[in-house]
Amino acid sequence: MRLSALLLGPVLLVNLLTFLAPVLNLASLSFNEARPGGGIGPGPTLATWADLLADPYYLELVTSSVGVAAMVTVGTLLAGYPLALFIHRASARWRNLLMVACISPLLVSAVVRTYGWMVILGDNGIVAAALRWLGMAKPPRMVFNLTGVAIALVEILMPTMILCLLAGFGRLNVALEEAAASLGAPPWRVLLRVVLPLSMPGVLLGCLLAFVLTVSSFITPKLLGGGRVILLATEIYDQAIVTLNWPVAAALSVLSLAVFGAALLLYGRILRIVEA
């Protein structure tokens, strides 16, 4: 026990210096007042927080961020679950190959993948062209709006989701599915009553990560959103870099940390229920 604490020491130290200290610094910055032109007034004052909490714009920013993240999370789960299950059931040789294929997108930066989606979903991209060829006179706009951002984020988060799901499939067991079938359960009920409940730990972990990564995603909503999709991370960027309002940016950062904390709490709560 004492040895493990000792071994944990360096990591704790690094985390203290590189994570906790900047976060505390940010938090204290949010108690300063912004001066026009990027200046920072003396503190401590609650002025920034008072402005922030009184402005309905920021409330909507938080709820819409959470809403978009929830939607993207569900989308990623729905897209990733069948794939993960397929990979899990493949023979050992195929499983490794499929894993590599699934994870290889992680080797490409999100910037490149986002630009890729801009080309694919653009007004003259292959999706629009295909829809036009199928007879649709005016295909729906898929870039510079939420649709494009959601599609790209789902794709970008899928490898992460699949890895989490695969890690959580340990309790799946073909014999249990056979037992359920022998008791009269058709395949879809086996999925709902046996496979899904047993893979809940992986589902929850994957959802937590997808949610957190969406709320803090920046490049994809920035590029594919065309200024119309504003999430917490993009707003923080705008406040810090464009408006030069550092106290508000700091307060929003603290707010997004609070959102993550809430997500983590919810995750723990559900996990306990599932594993009880």
């Binding site: 309790r171 067991n173 014999a175 249990l176 056979e178 037992a179 359920a180 079938a181 022998s182 008791l183 009269g184 359960a185 058709p186 395949p187 009920r189 009553r193 046996v194 409940p197 047993l198 599932v274």
Partner: protein
């Protein structure tokens, strides 16, 4: 929950994995309603594969499975109405005992109140009523096994399939569960297939036994038939213990065991043969006469196993193990003694070599 019993018929059921030898080769079996049939055989002889084909969990390569006259060969397992107890039990770890047992009833769309009643009844049947709200991982192996049995029985299946359900239990519990399963099966009258590689288990529990060898049924018969009249050397060797001695049979039906001559009740093919005798059917005090084979021999080793004395006697170049119950007051043979071993002509099993 009495079931009237359903006839199960296997017609030349076969399974081949890849292009190796068939795992199951043309197994035909006619199981009467309410009958308890054992599939007995060594590891890898195709017992599990046969059971899985009956349950629809493994597709058969050829042949048919008929339940009550209906061909179910291509029916998926959830439409077969068979209760299966897996060797690993396969209890749902995320449900408690009651939910495990209720699962099959829910799939059949029963009402909540009816389900509760039937679950309680089934748990009482296997004496687990008190543990209804435990999770499987909180149960002992024997308790898990009984939950698996209750879960399979509560749906009142047409056929009950048991795959070595007792193999994970210790010897004492196994014997208890043997009797319990046998009683429950007889009470409910469910047609049952019981897979085991334990010959004592099969003899004790089954109405009839199909002894399997390399994917085929080597012999089908009552435990008495199988034990007393094994159809082949393999069956005689696998079921019960036996002495095996190489011998030579003449055209006159007399078997030459070294310099001794013995006889068998059944006709014997001329040529090299194996003589097999159950150790406990050999004695030192056989009556002279037509019904007995008597050979002189020399005691080579005596092993005391408590209730039994095993004497290895050299007879005609081979070793015959003679098992005698130990009793106070009887003189025990000693190593080096000259003895006369005797056994009934009707107990002499002879198979061509």
């Amino acid at each position: 929950m009495a079931s009237s019993g359903t006839r199960l018929t296997l017609e030349a059921l076969s399974k081949r994995y890849g292009d190796g030898p068939p795992a199951v080769a043309a197994v035909s079996l006619d199981v009467a309603p309410g009958e308890f049939i054992g599939l007995l055989g060594p590891s890898g002889c195709g017992k599990t594969t046969t059971l899985r084909m009956i349950g629809g969990l493994t597709p058969s390569t050829s042949g048919r499975v008929m339940v009550g006259g209906r061909d179910v060969t291509t029916l998926p397992p959830h439409k077969r109405d068979m209760g299966i107890v897996f060797q690993s039990y396969a209890l749902f770890p995320h449900m408690d005992v009651a939910a495990n047992v209720a699962f099959g009833l829910e799939m059949r769309g029963l009402k909540r109140a009816d389900i509760a009643g039937k679950v309680a009844q089934a748990l009482d049947l296997v004496q687990l009523g008190a543990l209804a709200h435990r999770r499987p991982r909180e149960l002992s192996g024997g308790q898990q096994q009984r939950v698996a049995l209750a879960r399979a029985l509560v749906i009142e299946p047409a056929i009950l399939l048991l795959d070595e359900p007792l193999s994970n239990l210790d010897a004492k519990l196994r014997e208890e569960m043997r009797a319990e399963i046998h009683d429950i099966q007889k009470r409910l009258g469910i047609t049952t297939i019981f897979v085991t590689h334990d010959q004592a288990e099969a003899l004790a529990m089954c109405d009839r036994i199909a002894v399997m060898e390399k994917g085929r049924v080597a012999q089908l018969g009552t435990p008495h038939d199988i034990y007393e009249h094994p159809a082949s050397e393999f069956v005689a060797d696998f079921v019960g213990r036996s002495n095996r001695i190489a011998a030579e049979a003449g055209a006159d039906g007399v078997i030459r065991l070294g310099e001794h001559r013995v006889r068998s009740a059944a006709p014997v093919p001329a040529g090299p043969v194996t003589v097999m005798i159950r150790p406990h059917r050999v004695g030192f005090d056989g009556a002279e006469g037509d019904g007995w084979n008597i050979c002189p021999g020399v005691v080579r080793r005596v092993t005391y196993v408590g209730d039994m004395l095993a004497c290895e006697v050299e007879v005609g170049g081979g070793i015959v193990v003679v098992e005698r119950p130990t009793q106070p007051g009887t003189a025990l043979p000693a190593v080096g003694d000259g003895v006369r071993v005797s056994w009934r002509v009707s107990d002499t099993l002879v198979f061509p070599r």
